[in-house]
Amino acid sequence: MRERGQREVFCGLTGIIWLHRKIQDAFFLVVGSRTCAHLMQSAAGVMIFAEPRFATAIIDERDLAGLADANEELDRVVGQLLARRPDIKLLFLVGSCPSEVIKLDLSRAAQRLDRTHGGVRVLNYSGSGIETTFTQGEDACLAALVPEMPASRATTPELLVVGALAEVVEDQLRRLFDALGIGPVGFLPPRRAHLLPAVGPNTRMLLAQPFLADTARALENRGARHLPAPFPLGAEGTTGWLRAAAEAWDVPPATFRAVTAIGEQRARTAIARHRERLAGRRIFFFPDSQLEIPLARFLSRELDMRPVEIGTPYLHRAHLAAELPLLPEDALLSEGQDVDRQLDRCRAARPDLVVCGLGLANPLEAEGIPTKWSIELVFTPIQGYDQAGDLAELFARPLLRRAALAV
């Protein structure tokens, strides 16, 4: 089902909130309005920063009236910023709705500033609401990094894992690839700007996240080949994801089983503890991050939950090709949103658990409908075998809590 109407989702600017933690010497300068600045601080401002690594260049009347040359103004602001933060090695100029509607050319501005500030690489991407939804901001950011990646001269296959992952997850996956004899392995994004992995015709990429359409396309344009796989959520998803690489590397099945069996068993043990609480429960997903389909697959196949509706902001059929056949047939798949109608469907269905954004979560709780706020799924390590139990727990916790509270 496709729907259009009011969409209760974040814009791509919010990707900055985790990306600036991941790439530790990058700074994100949003070129936008006071609304953009307000969004960023409402989302991140509860953390008290000594030195935040994001800011907004707020467009004012003089810029709009043409009284000030917007490009000169931007140069001034960037100069001011870099003087304050000499430790910054990579600066992203992040486009917003206002900067796109007035057609401020940030890609040219980035090229210009890149020449004038030696030692600081200046790139740009769009995180505007009119172009991007929530996690698509990461897609746009990573796609902007792809041309920066060095060309690989490798004559044997190299693995590239794409999508921001928690550091502990990255380390676990690296160990698994080592044990399987798969390598060398690069990760995009890297932890530091200068550690960008190489890419070339022998690059095989595994997507760790389902929202990376543009990044994957840009990597393919540089010769990389996509390894179709389910996403590494849960025991089954992780094994399927690793198998895609193992097959590309011709890892003998016996080796593959030997390496993955322990982790898979461990994941199943950890998941099993939550099955009792979750099995048979009906779950409803509002669209948010594009993680909804792999999550619904995990919850239905490994925890016996029953998805009622699976909403997603966008559905990339090619990247989800390994996921879609695994979904239960009676689940309604909806792309896009008309939030009031979706709420009507949700209330009528009376699901046992609703996965939704923070704008809807407390109001639904107040109506007596248990919720799991979806943004946490982007901020928490959930991929791989050793996080499978944690992932299940994220869904069990709201139910556990409702059972525990006696007020």
Partner: protein
Amino acid sequence: MQLAVWTYEGPPHVGAMRVATGMTGLHYVLHAPQGDTYADLLFTMIERRQARPPVTYTTFQARDLGGDTAELFKTAVQDAYDRFQPQAMIVGASCTAELIQDDPGGLAKALRLPVPVVPLELPSYSKKENWGASETFYQLVRTLAGPQVPPPGTPRPARGPGVAPSCNILGPTGLGFRHRDDVREIAGLLARLGVEVRVVAPMGAAPADLARLGEADFNVVLYPEIAGQAAGWLARSFGQKATRTIPIGTNATRAFVEEVAALAGLDPAPLLAAEGSRAAWYARSVDSNYLTGKRVFVFGDATHAVAAARVAAAEMGFRVVGLGTYSREFARDVREAAKLYDVEPLVTEDYLAVEAAIQAAQPELILGTQMERHIAKRLGIPCAVISAPVHVQDYPARYSPQMGFEGANVLFDAWVHPLMMGLEEHLLGMFREDFEFHAEAAPSHLGGGSQPVAAAEAAVAEAPSGPIAWTADGEAELKKIPFFVRGKARRNTERFAEERGIRSITVETLYDAKAHFSR
């Protein structure tokens, strides 16, 4: 273009949302791009409201820009009316929609809805949140109370015999800093004085209530940034006088009681004799001696900043070394106040300018907003919050007004608390060798962000690990676990290993244990 690390106010449409969300029976249709619904979170998460804000967004996307965004807007207005059946509506544009110029007011009018529809002109690139709230409230009051305005020159009818004097309370909104409890505190004070409160607005009022505003004898304006303009119009239209004293602090509360009593024709003496703040005695008690002359920097909206400076100087015995505001519309009040303390007034919305001024003034305490907490952390200075913008921790569950006598008590506790911690830190600085109070064990949550981490690491390192050894990679993996659960992970893993006779803990053991104990 202005470089904004943090911004003190949101865009003006957020001000309009605060008015709409505070009220009942009013719906706001906002022409805005996808993503601007983030503002709902301010109300559902930061203020923890139990219902969605009464706001419908058009959430247009890039592909809509080529098409008919005006039609999109009209459909949204009609759908919102049909679904929510409000008593009145407001319509307007956010910053991006302002650029595409669809004229929300004209489009909504063409729909001929059977309720008042108030169009809002909120210039997003020159005005800000408080202005937006003020303008929205003013336009609503004018539209809804306008039909009741008597002909010019009509004198206010005298109050009948036996009728209690009455007032409205103006200014509280959704997402206001302590508005919820300020209203309760002041309404209680007014009731005990013998004044009847007719309408509290915008917060809690319906459009029909705004139509009745003219009936009260006078207005109590709690937040001039939001209600000053509307109160001015009510004074001109209905001859209602308005209070000018902001009852923050013991002295100001007393002055406020006297002002209200004069407007109502009542005697304030019995109430003033019966009530007062505990803070007044606390500040006189010898324990507060060390507060004398503490250098304090004050920044916030104009109303709270001026009030806080007054309380700091006269009721706490601090020395005000800096005073500033981001409320340009009320800059004059702050400039006047700054003269009292012989400091240079700071009127700016530039966070970096505030940081520079604080650094130059070297205060021992900062009274400011959520943004000053960032500065305080960077500079290692104690800090308390006195004004919006604030985050979730400043919408507390407990009763915590800033106004009235109880408000004065709250201020005393809130401002002294970080200083106590500051004193502890000084002692720590003097006796670094103390086995218990070493620097890493400092409990203060201010002025040393990394210290709790260090303390926890130290505690983990000191924990006896028994006969079971950790391999280097196991130990390294353990360090990747967040510090606040690391101790527990270590204990669980060791217990797990002990029970199974494992002598050497590897990464695998760690995760086996994790899976075992996971629940």
